[in-house]
Structure formats: structure tokens, C-alpha cells
């Protein structure tokens, strides 16, 4: 080999070695948007997507076969999940202590709301830097986001109850964790956020604060919020949630004010009970379907037998499985034959069946509860009868002998009006300290869980 060709070889080798690093380059995130980018350079379109994301985030897990409605229904003795693959639907939810270890059995009711709280704070943070939105447009989005944070905290404290929740969570990931506060403090924060949200939406007039400038929402809320999709009408949804919160806290005066500002049409003797805000489900791309139609989900027999004869709500909502579909005849039993049921939930037999967030039927019942709280049993009777005759197609109540009788009547109406709609039965019996009565409904009485524990993941991270 000549010197020349030596040189050629070595030069080309050196060139290859030097040129080679040029092909190496960084790869960005291909499957999502980075938080930094979203918070630092948001666009109005991104704000809209984040806002819609809160609706999606709030819906997360609600319609799952092992989700919020399904599991709170089991604990409150409304429903079963006969999944033969997972014995914990009975061993934990019906017969033993709930454990904090599994996301599928309680953990998700902690993780998913906080994830959406994070989404809401990301939205609020992006609003600070976004260009191209007016202050009025930003105000109503803030009010909307604050309402959703309150909703998430409400669902958290509903499952955790006396165990408490963390509320001061808008922190850097490396910061010390937000402390767990008491149920009372959590409710205070929920009230505060709902009030703040209401004001930012242009509602909740009070003497000393002048209303903020408002503008229409820049994003669509979809058919689940039909009738509540402008700042003016969304406020009435915000106040309906506030009314529920005040009633839970037995703050009857505030509850009445909130009801008056909500979408309750109290003077209407034949109201539209279904009017309200809903989680909607879909089968389109990217959408989520409602899995409460799962073949494993059944109503507890007591939900059938406890209904008064002729209660149209039971007739509407519960269906014998053999009437559902010709293909699905036969006998259905749980894995170990302790629990049996023949009834399913008629309102959730489609993948697109909506689940109510709050609707007018509950507002009437809250109104009746406020009347009972104010010791106005006649007004309570009249309000309850609107629901009882209108929704239940039952004969009206006569005079209540005492508050206890009124409460029992109210709890019965709530049981069937709000059957399997998000754990109302369990929550109601808990706040009236009647959880033990649920055992009477049980085919295999053991115990009633009063709350879900704070997940192990949260506890461990705090040690």
C-alpha cells in the first residue's frame, strides 16, 4: 500500500469518526405535551383544551365497573359486582376492612381527583401567562376551574370522611407535602373555593364586593352541561353543589341561600327532575364509555324489596336481567353463592348512559332537608311530595309526626330518587348515623365501612 492510499484511508476514517456524532440528536416527548411548555407558553387554544380536560378529569373513574359509582354503591348496599376474578368486591367492600394498598379498591378515588386538581392548577397557572385572552375571559375560566377543584375535594372528602384530605396541594413536586386536614377544614376549603368560583363567574352578589367583569366561556362544555354552559348558568350549577355542601354541614341558612341561587325551580309543582349537569360518555375516538353496564354489576336484592309497592323509581331503575336481552337469559350468581341477585340497573345499560353530577331531583330533596333542618315539617312534607308523587308515582305523605319521621321519609325518597348515582345512600346513612341499618339489607351481614382509608402510597410518602 502506498503512502497516498494510507493517507486516504486514515483521512476518511477520521472524517467518519468526526462526522458520526452529527447524527446523534435529542428526542422530544412524542406521546404528550410537557408541563413546562404548557405553563410557559400557553395559547388560548391550549387553555380551552385544559378547560375541557377538567370535565374529562372529573369524569375519570366514575363510570368504571370498579369505579366511584360502582364501589360506593356496593358499600352503601345498593349494588354488587360479581366479577368472579376479583373476590375483593365482597371481601373488602362488603365484609372486611377496606385496605389502603390497591388503586382499584379506593386508591383511585384519591389519585384521580388529585390528578384533576393538578390539571385545574395547571390551567390556573397557564391563565397567568397566556396572551390573547381578555381579563373577563380569564375570570370566568378561573371561576370554572375553582368550581372543579371544589368538586374534586368534595368527592375526596366523601370517600375519606373523618380521615381527612390534603387541600393545600398546589406546590412544587419537590416541596414538602400538603398537610392532611380535618373534614371540617376540608369542607371550609370547598365552601371557599365554590364562593370564589361563583364570584369569578360573576355570581354570588354580596354588598361589599363588586362583581367581576365576565365574558362568555371560550370553550365548549358539551351536552353534559347543556343549560349550564355559560358563566351565568354555570353559576347555578356551582350553587347547587354549594347547597349540597351546606346541607351536608347542616348549615341550613346558607343552604337555603345557595338553593335559591341554584337551578332549583322550587315553585314548579311538576319540575323536570332530570334537569342538571351530567358526566356524559361516548364511544367516539378518545371518549370513554360507561361501564356500569358491565355484566358483573347487579342491584342488591334489598334495593328491590325495600321499595314501596308501585314506586315508579324502582320500576324505572331496576330491571330483571331476563328482561334485558334475550341473549342473556339464565341464572346468574356470584362466585361463591353467598350473594345472589336477579336485578340490574336499567338506566346504565348503554355505553353512553350519562351519570348525574347533580340534578334537580336532588335539589328538591335538599330543599326538603333544609326545611326539616329548619323544623318546618309541613314545608318538608310538601317538597318531599313533589318528588314522591312526581318521580315515585306514589301517594303523598301525610303530616309527619316528628322530625325523625320526616328524616326517615326524606332518606327513603333520596334512596330511590338517587339510587346508584354516586354513593348517596352510603353518604346519607353515614351523615345521619344510620349506617348500621344498612346491615339489615345485607344477605350476609358483616360490617359496614364508614370511609376509605388514605391510600398507602400517600401515607408512605409522608413517612
Amino acid at each position: 500500500m502506498t503512502n497516498k492510499s494510507h493517507k486516504f484511508v486514515f483521512v476518511s476514517l477520521a472524517a467518519l469518526l468526526l462526522a458520526a456524532p452529527a447524527c446523534y440528536e435529542d428526542v422530544p416527548n412524542l406521546n404528550g405535551l410537557d408541563f413546562d411548555a404548557v405553563e410557559e407558553e400557553p395559547t388560548p387554544q391550549l387553555i380551552d383544551e385544559l378547560a375541557v380536560g377538567l370535565l374529562i378529569g372529573h369524569r375519570a373513574g366514575k363510570g368504571a365497573a370498579n369505579g366511584y359509582v360502582a364501589q360506593l354503591g356496593i358499600v352503601g348496599r345498593e349494588s354488587f359486582n360479581f366479577d368472579p376474578a376479583d373476590p375483593r368486591f365482597r371481601s373488602e367492600l362488603l365484609e372486611g376492612q377496606l385496605q389502603g394498598g390497591s388503586p382499584a379498591f379506593g386508591g383511585n378515588f384519591w389519585n384521580l381527583p388529585y390528578r384533576n386538581v393538578k390539571n385545574a392548577f395547571t390551567l390556573l397557572g397557564s391563565l397567568e401567562t397566556v396572551a390573547g385572552l381578555s381579563d373577563a375571559e380569564k375570570n370566568v375560566i378561573r371561576g370554572y376551574a375553582q368550581t372543579f377543584i371544589a368538586l374534586e375535594f368534595l368527592s375526596l372528602i366523601t370517600t375519606r370522611d373523618e380521615n381527612g384530605i390534603a387541600i393545600d396541594v398546589n406546590r412544587e413536586i419537590t416541596a414538602e407535602l400538603a398537610p392532611i386536614v380535618t373534614k371540617d377544614q376540608a369542607f371550609d376549603e370547598i365552601e371557599r373555593l365554590l364562593q370564589l368560583g361563583c364570584e369569578n363567574l360573576g355570581g354570588c352578589p354580596s354588598g361589599d364586593v363588586s362583581p367581576v367583569a365576565t365574558a362568555p366561556f371560550t370553550f365548549q362544555l358539551g351536552s353534559g352541561f347543556a343549560g349550564f354552559d355559560t358563566p351565568e348558568t354555570f353559576v347555578t350549577f356551582n350553587r347547587a353543589i354549594a347547597a349540597r355542601v351546606f346541607a351536608y354541614r347542616e348549615k341550613w341558612t346558607e343552604a337555603q341561600v345557595a338553593l335559591d341561587q341554584s337551578f332549583l325551580d322550587a315553585s314548579n309543582p311538576e319540575p323536570d327532575f332530570k334537569l342538571g349537569a351530567y358526566h356524559i360518555f361516548g364511544t367516539g375516538s378518545g371518549d370513554t364509555s360507561n361501564n356500569l353496564s358491565s355484566v358483573n354489576i347487579y342491584a342488591q336484592p334489598a334495593a328491590v324489596t325495600a321499595a314501596e309497592a308501585g314506586d315508579d323509581r324502582a320500576a324505572r331503575k331496576l330491571v330483571h336481567f331476563s328482561d334485558l336481552d334475550e341473549e342473556t337469559g339464565g341464572t346468574v350468581q356470584s362466585g361463591d353463592n353467598t350473594y345472589t341477585s336477579d336485578y340490574r340497573f336499567a338506566e346504565f345499560q348503554e355505553p353512553t348512559s350519562p351519570i348525574a353530577i347533580i340534578r334537580q331531583e336532588e335539589l328538591f330533596l335538599l330543599q326538603a332537608e333544609v326545611h326539616i333542618g329548619n323544623s318546618d315539617l309541613d314545608a318538608a312534607r310538601d317538597t318531599l311530595n313533589i318528588v314522591r308523587t312526581g318521580s315515585g308515582k306514589l301517594a303523598p305523605y301525610g303530616d309527619f309526626a316528628n322530625a325523625g319521621a320526616a328524616i326517615d321519609a326524606m332518606l327513603y325518597e333520596r334512596r330511590y330518587s338517587l339510587l346508584f348515582e354516586g354513593g348517596h345512600r352510603w353518604v346519607d346513612m353515614r351523615r345521619y348515623e344510620k349506617l348500621d341499618e344498612l346491615l339489615a339489607d345485607d344477605q350476609n351481614p358483616n360490617m359496614i365501612n364508614t370511609s376509605f382509608p388514605i391510600p398507602d402510597d400517600e401515607i408512605n410518602a409522608r413517612q
Binding site: 484511508v9 467518519l16 458520526a20 447524527c23 446523534y24 428526542v27 412524542l30 406521546n31 404528550g32 410537557d34 408541563f35 404548557v38 391550549l46 383544551e49 375541557v52 374529562i56 369524569r59 368504571a64 365497573a65 366479577d83 368472579p84 376474578a85 373476590p87 375483593r88 365482597r90 373488602e92 372486611g96 390497591s102 389519585n111 388529585y114 390528578r115 393538578k118 392548577f121 395547571t122 390534603a166 396541594v169 406546590r171 362544555l221 353534559g224 356524559i280 361516548g282 364511544t283 375516538s285 370513554t288 364509555s289 358491565s294 355484566v295 336481552d325 341473549e327 342473556t328 339464565g330 341464572t331 350468581q333 362466585g335 353463592n337 355505553p351 402510597d457 400517600e458 408512605n460 410518602a461
Partner: protein, 987 residues
């Protein structure tokens, strides 16, 4: 024969075969070629009668035979082998048998492809683990992992289920990661090939991941299954960092280097092999036998006969439902290879077709394969090697493993009593199964459901070797290679409306069209300088190189539900989801290696280093450095006749395990919608801009011994393998809005031993018996954990899960256990370990004349598995021993208070391979004339399993390939044994 003579080389030794002179004044020369020092056989050496075209290639045992050599004259044989010095030997006119010993190549031409491979290969410092072609093909295997079982010490190879088409895990030297990448790196002829497992999407009907473990439970195939064992010349396994350091941050789980067969400059050869066989289910679980109506009433209606509809289904018969979904159908395999060439051009074309029937009706595996290998020399300096391989496989899987919708076969059988008749009606429709909410009748599912996986794959490599400079002292080679691996996997899943479970979600009929495209490209350049001083007392080799690897994956799935009747198209679905998932990784690095052979090549010392960087690291510009040093010494054995080799060795190396794609990013995920309006939201994973590769540091030492003319070989290896910076998902307080963040959070340690003992107690011309035992033991412990102990894999403590805790075994299975029977609360304790105590394989090859009997026994001692399939049978009062034992088991389990009744010993002894072959004797072949070799073989795989495990198969993994988290048994695909009859002939 003296040692010195052997070293000097040219030796003619014992006669191995009687001379046969034929009538046409021709003779046959037979012989055997061995390595001068170790006495190991030298396969693949070229033996040519000088001045003619007559010649041959040595067999696996180093033997060769050249017919048609003229009698009455001396001839010269020219013997060449890639790694040895070329030699010419004169064979006298009256001599027909000889034995040749070859010396190792010095500054000879050695073609080295890939990432700085060792030049002085005969003194490797790591426990040798090379499996030759012959050992891979003793019994027909569908994929190379099946073929490797029991052949490499320190490799724990387990199948995830009995399904045809693959799904195997190779763990080399224990546990190298907890949550990181756990598959070894596969390198074929210098091409890095992908072993990804792509989920087929059956989850949409099983809803398995919607339960308490969100991992994939689709029983996927890891794609290394695409390779055809018959194409492989040899497989070299680099088990730990000490051997694999030069593969840097991709080598933590070991490297498997596959060399495929190539053509030889020889006369044209045609090799044809045809096998037929069948597989049958080798185990069933059995179920409770129902003997009376009262028994049914007791079990299903709490003893109340009135209204007990289940009892109305009892007619005094018991069906074996498991048997009703199995089949025995013929399987075939055909392979043809044509090879040949001239001294400058060599080629090999091979093709194979395999059609394997599964034991469950409807399942099976088909593979076709076409390969071309070409080597061309340009002058004396440049050789270009090209190979291409096109593979098509079509796998029909079955609906198995965990589900939450009561659709997978064994999930349904668990709660379906034997007395119900599931067989089809006369009109061909199937009865609904009233014992599961979904109504699923598995007999219908196997007939109607289709879970197909169609893969087209192309693997191509081009490499060039340029001899830049060469004189007696210096040899400079430059090698460059480019490799491409590209495959497209199409998953077509069809669940027609008629399936009884289909209306369950309100959307009857489901179709999944999944397409995954994977492309990996890698290239590298090495410059190698070998230096031999004139004294030849020592020599050195220096290698410097550069490499670049790129990996891309794009998965598009279309899930369609609610199909138009009769139209099984995704477009006809009422509900359509089309998620996409992408991965793109780029790695780059530099290698430098120095090898020195000293003291007449008795001492080999190697030092090397690699620096690489990857786009998946938090800091994608930072280089990670991985060093490697090793030394081996061949002890001089002057005057000791019996012992031929004593070689102690010591090696240290480091490798990495780069983070997963996406570990550094936290993201807001788009593609979600509500009522047709799009939105984005957090995924729950927090970003980590500081994530870096896991680091493995391994030290291994051992000794190789060879005695009695190579008839006794012993290899001992001890190693310690520490992995630090373990990438774990730090569980964040969910109140932050995030649930996990990948971070470098812990360390683990493996300690182990490997022993190989090979003996040839009998070695005569007509009788040869070779016996080989490999033993491996590994014990992995978590040595440090920067996060609280956590549970991972499995479904939770009530049903057994894995717990990572400082000081505990890395693969411990924990569960609830009621330590104090009076205390209603259970403790969470270790109840098992997925790591076996040891694994032993025992190979025996007995050659009697033309007959060869080969057996391979595979013994795993220890390790536990959680038999949740049994739990499900018990809960449904349907296990075969329910009245005797099952009732007590569930009572003890008590809703999850005590998992021990379902934690079982997963030890096993399997008869993996048995084959009996008959080689047509040479005289017969000559009479036939056109045949150069012919063999008839009967063989079987997985013929017998002896195990205390009560489930279908102690080798089980509901979650597929997992670094930890295997050994969970939920409704697997049943295991099978296969029988083959093969004919092979060469022309």
C-alpha cells in the same frame, strides 16, 4: 505425544477409522481436527486436497472425510480455519486416517464484526457460553429461546405459557433490574435486533388491566421468536457486565450474540430437512366431579332445592370441559439450504417453513423464512459480507390469562361445573353458560374468536473488512458494519357478535386492528491494530471504534366495538378508539480496547472502555463510561500428561441499563374527548430531568480445566453482580397530582455460581458417550432502597404480590399471613421467592455406530408460584379436590387473610428433549451416490414434567416477561408436549 510437539503443530496421530479403498482406485481420507492447546474440536475448518477442488468442512466434532482421493500417491491437505493458523499436511499414499492439531491464529487475518470483539478469542476471561448449531437443533423448536433451554449455565429461561409462537423470558445471572429493561440485547451478525413484546390488544375484551394491576396481560410474543434456530451457526451468551461491558448502557441484562450460517468455498451443497409431528396438551387441571343433585343444591342453593335452577341443569353426567377445547393436529417443518462458492465468493441460501398446531383449538403458529448470506473478497484486502433475512410469521393465539370480564378460557372453566353440557346444538349454535355473568362458552370462543398476529420482518446486515496494512509485525484492519432490523406486526383480533360474551358491554362485536412498526438501525466502525514483535513472545491488539444505534417504534391500534352484523371491519364499529404510541431512541458511543497476550500467549490481559450517551437519559448529552478489565492465564503443564489445560481467569466490567422512553418526561396527554370535544390532562407521571442509566458492576472469576485428552472438562465460575442506580418508579404522594416518577433509587446484588462438567466416558470409533451437566445458582438481594419498601407486580397482598425491601430477596413473594390465628388482622410476610435455588441441566449424547441418542433434562429446584387459578376454582367450589382439600384452602385463605394455601413450590424436572437419530453409514451413502449425508430422527420436546406444582405448568407468567413479577398463575394457556419425526439429507 509431548506438549511441545503439540505446540509446534504438525502432527499425525492415531488412526481413527480403517481405510477403505474402493474398486476405482480411490480412497477415503478421514480425520479429526482439534485445537493444539485445549484439544477442543475445531468445527467449520476447510480441508482441501491441494491442487484439486476436492475438499470438505469439518463437522461439529472436528471430524472430516474426503472421498475420491487417488490411491498410490502422496497428497497435501490444506487446512484453514478462521481463528487458527493455516496448515498444510502431507498425507502419505498408504495413510487414510489422520489427526491434525491447529495452533491458534497469531497476527493472522481475523474478521471481527460488531462492537470491538475480542481478537484473542481462545483465552476468554468469562465462563464460556457458546452454543453450536447442532445443539440448537436436536429437537425442532419454534424459536431460539425454546432451543436454548438447558444449554447455557446461568441462563434461566422460562416460558410464559404453553402457547405456540413464543413468549419466553431469558434471565442471565439472576435479576439485573427491578422495573427497567429486562431483556438481553440480541445482536445478530452485528445487527442489534429488537425483542420487544407488543401487546395484541385482547385487553379490550378481557379488561384485565382494568383491575388491580394495570400491566399488560395479553400474553404477548417477544419478537426474538422470529428467528429460525436452523439458520444459526452459534450463539454466544455474554451473561454479565464483565463480559458485556462494551455494549454499554444496553447490556445490563446480558448480550446474546448470534452468528448465522454462511457459505464456504466448497462444492455446492444442498441440505434438506423435513419434519412432521404433533403436540398434545401435557397437563389438565381437572375439576370437581358432581355426583348427585343434592350436591348441586348444597353448593349452589345453600341446600334449598326449591327454585334451585342450577340443579335443573344436572343430569348425572360430568364433562371434561378442558379437553373439549384441546386438539391434536399435525405440525410440519421443512427447511432447505443451498451453499457453496469459490475461494473469493461464498453464498448460502436457506429457507424454511414451519406450521405448528397449538393444543387449544384455533391456535397455532406458522413461519416462513428466507435467508441469503453472501461473502465476496475483493483482492486480498477487502471482504464484503452481506446477509438478508425475510421472515413472515402468523400466530393464532388464544384467549388466555387473567381477565375481568369472564371471557378467557380457564377463567370461565374455574366457575363452570362439569355437569353442564357446553357442546354445540345441532344447528351449530352454542348454549350460553349460566355460571358466569358473561355467559361465555369457551367451546364457542375457540371456534369463533380470532387473535392473530402477523409479522413481516426484514433483517439485513452489510459489513466490510479492509486489511489496511499487513506485515509480519503489524496488521491493521478496519471493519465497518451497518445493520437494519425492520418489522411490522399486525394484530387482527375478531370477536364476532355471535360470541355469547359480546353483548356484555352493550356493543356486540369487537375488532382490533393493531399495527406496530419497529425499525432499528445501527452502524459501527472499528479499527484494529495487531502487533507481533519479531520475538513472538507476546502480542497486542488495539481496537478503537465508534457506534450509533437508533430505535423507533410506532404502534397504532384501532379498537372497534359494536360491529355491523356480518361486517368484521373496524370501520363498521359504533365505538372506535385509535390510540397511538411512539418510541424513538438514539444512542451513540465510542470504544477503546487493548489486548495483550504475554508469556507465549499464556497470559492474556484486556482493558477496555466504552463511553455512550442516549436520548432517553435526563441529560442526553452526558456520556456514561463503562470500563472492563480481564486476565486469563494458561498454567504451564510441562510433563503432566493427563491434564491438558488449567486456566484461571478473572474479569471485571460495568454496564448500564438506560431509562425507558418517557421516564424523563412528565406529560399532559391529549387525544381525550368528551362528547366530541377534545381536552388534555395529566398522565400521572412526573418528569425527571435527572434520570440516568442503572449501573451494573460485575466481577467474575473462575477456572477452566481439561484433562484426559479433553475427555473431562470442568468450568467453574463465581460472580458477584451489583446493580446501583436502579430505576424505580418512585411512588409520589398522589395528592401532588402525580402518582409516579422514575428515579435512580436503589441497589441490588446478585451472587452466583456456575459449573459445567463435561465428560466423555467412552470414545471409540463405534461408541461415544458424552455427558454434560451444568449447574447454576443465583441469589439476588436488594441492598439499598431510597424509597419505602413497596409492592410491585401481582394483584395485592390478599392474593400474593412482590415486595421490594432493603435486605430482602429481590424477588420475594409476599402475602397476607395470619401469624396469630386469634388475631383477625394479618401480617404481610414473605411467602415465597420467584428465584430458584438452583437450576441444573443434564445432557447425554450416546452414539452407537450410526445411532445417536440425545437427552436433555432440565431441573429447577425451588421458587414458588402463586396459583390463583386454583383459588378461582376453589372459590367456585369447583376444584377437583374441593371436598377433600379445596374447602379447607378457601377457609384458610379467608378472603385474603392467608395466602399460603395458594403459594406452591414451583420446582420441576422436565424431560426437555429426547431424540434418537440414525445416520446412514458412509458406505450406504456411497452406494446411493448422490447423498453426502442422511439422517432419520425421532424426537420429542417437553415430554415429561415432574413437579409438586398443582397448576398447569410451574413455568408461568400472567404478566409476560418481567424482571420480577413472574410466577403468578392466572388462567394460562395449557402446556404441551410435542413429538417429531425428521428426515434430513445433504446432496
Amino acid at each position: 505425544m509431548s506438549w511441545k510437539h503439540a505446540c509446534l503443530g504438525v502432527l499425525v496421530a492415531a488412526m481413527l477409522a480403517p481405510s477403505i479403498a474402493d474398486a476405482q482406485q480411490r480412497r477415503i481420507i478421514t480425520g479429526r481436527i482439534t485445537e493444539a492447546v485445549t484439544n477442543e474440536a475445531v468445527p467449520g475448518a476447510t480441508v482441501i486436497v491441494k491442487g484439486t477442488d476436492d475438499g470438505t468442512i469439518t463437522e461439529q466434532d472436528g471430524s472430516f472425510s474426503i472421498p475420491n482421493v487417488p490411491v498410490g500417491q502422496d497428497i497435501t491437505l490444506s487446512i484453514t480455519s478462521a481463528s487458527h493458523q493455516t496448515k498444510e499436511i502431507v498425507v502419505a499414499a498408504d495413510q487414510n486416517g489422520l489427526r491434525v492439531e491447529l495452533a491458534l491464529a497469531g497476527a493472522e487475518e481475523v474478521v471481527v464484526i460488531g462492537r470491538a470483539p475480542q481478537v484473542f478469542r481462545k483465552n476468554l476471561a468469562n465462563g464460556a457460553a457458546v452454543v453450536q448449531a447442532e445443539a440448537l437443533n436436536d429437537v425442532p423448536a419454534g424459536n431460539i429461546t425454546d432451543a436454548l433451554v438447558g444449554k447455557v449455565s446461568g441462563a434461566n429461561i422460562q416460558s410464559n405459557s404453553g402457547a405456540p409462537g413464543g413468549g419466553n423470558q431469558i434471565s442471565l445471572r439472576g435479576i439485573s433490574t427491578v422495573q427497567g429493561r429486562s431483556a438481553p440485547l440480541y445482536v445478530i451478525d452485528g445487527v442489534i435486533v429488537s425483542d420487544v413484546s407488543v401487546a395484541n390488544g385482547a385487553n379490550i375484551v378481557t379488561q384485565a388491566s382494568g383491575g388491580s394491576n394495570a400491566s399488560n396481560q395479553d400474553n404477548p410474543v417477544n419478537r426474538i421468536a422470529d428467528l429460525t434456530p436452523g439458520d444459526i451457526e452459534n450463539i454466544e451468551v455474554l451473561k454479565g457486565a464483565a463480559a458485556a461491558a462494551l455494549y454499554g448502557s444496553k447490556a445490563s441484562a446480558g448480550v446474546i450474540i448470534i452468528t448465522t450460517k454462511r457459505g464456504r468455498s466448497d462444492k455446492t451443497r444442498v441440505q434438506i430437512k423435513q419434519s412432521v409431528g404433533f403436540a398434545q396438551a401435557s397437563n389438565t387441571l381437572g375439576a370437581r366431579q358432581w355426583n348427585s343433585r343434592e350436591e348441586v343444591v348444597d353448593a349452589f342453593c345453600s341446600g334449598e332445592a326449591a327454585g334451585c335452577t342450577q340443579a335443573d341443569l344436572f343430569f348425572g353426567r360430568n364433562f371434561n370441559h378442558e379437553k373439549e377445547i384441546t386438539q391434536v393436529k399435525p405440525s410440519t417443518e421443512t427447511s432447505i439450504s443451498i451453499s457453496g462458492g469459490t475461494p473469493k465468493t461464498k453464498y448460502l441460501i436457506s429457507t424454511s417453513v414451519r406450521d405448528e398446531a397449538g393444543v387449544v383449538i384455533g391456535s397455532g403458529y406458522e413461519k416462513q423464512n428466507l435467508r441469503l448470506a453472501l461473502d465476496q473478497d475483493f483482492g486480498d484486502r477487502f471482504r464484503l459480507s452481506v446477509s438478508t433475512n425475510i421472515i413472515h410469521s402468523d400466530t393464532a393465539r388464544s384467549l388466555t390469562n387473567n381477565d375481568n370480564a369472564s371471557v378467557s378460557h380457564y377463567m370461565v372453566f374455574a366457575s363452570t361445573p362439569g355437569f353442564i353440557d357446553l357442546r354445540p346444538f345441532e344447528d351449530g349454535t352454542f348454549p350460553a353458560n349460566p355460571f358466569v355473568p358473561s355467559q361465555t362458552n369457551p367451546l364457542q370462543t375457540v371456534e369463533l374468536a380470532q387473535i392473530n398476529e402477523d409479522v413481516w420482518r426484514g433483517i439485513a446486515s452489510v459489513s466490510g473488512n479492509l486489511k489496511v496494512f499487513s506485515n509480519p509485525m503489524h496488521l491493521v484492519n478496519v471493519t465497518a458494519n451497518i445493520g437494519l432490523d425492520r418489522f411490522q406486526q399486525r394484530n387482527d383480533l375478531i370477536f364476532p357478535r355471535e360470541l355469547l360474551f359480546e353483548p356484555g358491554d352493550g356493543l356486540p362485536g369487537t375488532v382490533v386492528n393493531g399495527t406496530t412498526e419497529v425499525r432499528s438501525i445501527n452502524y459501527g466502525i472499528n479499527a484494529i491494530h495487531q502487533f507481533t514483535p519479531t520475538s513472538a513472545k507476546w502480542k497486542a491488539a488495539t481496537t478503537a471504534g465508534f457506534f450509533y444505534d437508533e430505535f423507533e417504534r410506532n404502534t397504532n391500534n384501532i379498537f372497534a366495538q359494536g360491529l355491523t352484523a356480518g361486517l368484521e371491519l373496524s370501520g363498521s364499529g359504533v365505538s372506535v378508539q385509535a390510540p397511538q404510541f411512539r418510541v424513538e431512541e438514539r444512542d451513540q458511543g465510542f470504544v477503546l480496547q487493548e489486548e495483550v497476550a504475554l508469556l507465549d500467549e499464556r497470559l492474556t490481559v484486556l482493558a477496555a472502555g466504552l463511553a455512550d450517551r442516549s436520548s432517553v437519559n435526563g441529560d442526553s448529552d452526558a456520556l456514561s463510561f463503562y470500563p472492563k478489565v480481564s486476565a486469563t492465564y494458561r498454567v504451564p503443564l510441562e510433563g503432566i500428561e493427563e491434564i491438558t489445560l488449567v486456566r484461571p481467569r478473572l474479569a471485571y466490567g460495568e454496564t448500564g441499563n438506560k431509562p425507558g422512553f418517557g421516564d424523563r418526561f412528565g406529560s399532559l396527554v391529549g387525544g381525550n374527548s368528551i362528547g366530541g370535544i377534545g381536552g388534555i390532562g395529566a398522565s400521572g407521571r412526573a418528569p425527571n430531568p435527572e434520570i440516568k442509566p442503572e449501573r451494573q458492576r460485575e466481577i467474575e472469576g473462575g477456572v477452566d480445566l481439561s484433562a484426559f485428552d479433553g475427555r473431562l472438562v470442568l468450568e467453574l465460575t463465581l460472580y458477584q453482580k451489583n446493580v446501583s442506580d436502579l430505576i424505580l418508579d418512585r411512588v409520589l404522594a398522589p395528592s401532588t397530582g402525580f402518582t409516579v416518577q422514575a428515579d435512580n433509587l436503589g441497589s441490588l446484588r446478585n451472587r452466583g455460581a456456575e459449573i459445567l462438567l463435561q465428560a466423555t466416558p467412552v470414545r471409540t470409533a463405534n461408541l461415544q458417550w458424552l455427558s454434560r451437566i451444568t449447574f447454576s445458582h443465583n441469589s439476588a438481594v436488594i441492598t439499598q432502597l431510597d424509597v419505602p419498601a413497596f409492592e410491585d407486580g401481582g394483584f395485592g397482598a390478599a392474593v400474593g404480590t412482590f415486595r421490594i425491601d432493603e435486605g430482602d430477596p429481590a424477588c420475594q413473594i409476599v402475602g397476607n399471613l395470619r401469624v396469630d390465628p386469634d388475631d383477625p388482622l394479618s401480617d404481610r410476610v414473605q411467602v415465597g421467592n420467584c428465584e430458584p435455588d438452583f437450576r441444573v441441566s443434564f445432557v447425554n449424547d450416546l452414539k452407537v455406530g450410526p445411532f445417536t441418542l440425545h437427552t436433555l433434562l432440565d431441573w429447577q429446584q425451588g421458587s414458588e408460584a402463586v396459583n390463583l387459578t386454583l383459588l378461582l376454582y376453589d372459590l367456585a367450589a369447583n376444584s377437583s379436590d374441593f371436598l377433600e382439600e379445596g374447602m379447607d384452602r378457601t377457609a384458610a385463605w379467608a378472603g385474603g387473610a392467608d395466602i399460603t394455601p395458594y403459594v406452591e413450590d414451583a420446582s420441576f424436572l422436565k424431560v426437555r428433549e429426547v431424540s434418537l437419530s440414525y445416520d446412514l453409514p458412509k458406505p450406504v451413502l456411497e452406494q446411493i451416490g448422490f447423498l453426502s449425508n442422511a439422517q432419520i430422527k425421532a424426537s420429542g420436546r417437553n415430554l415429561l414434567t415432574i413437579t409438586p406444582y398443582s397448576g398447569l405448568d410451574p413455568e408461568v407468567s400472567n404478566f409476560g416477561n418481567q424482571p420480577i413479577g413472574r410466577n403468578i398463575d392466572v388462567a394460562p394457556y395449557p402446556p404441551s408436549r410435542s413429538f417429531w419425526f425428521s428426515l434430513e439429507a445433504g446432496f
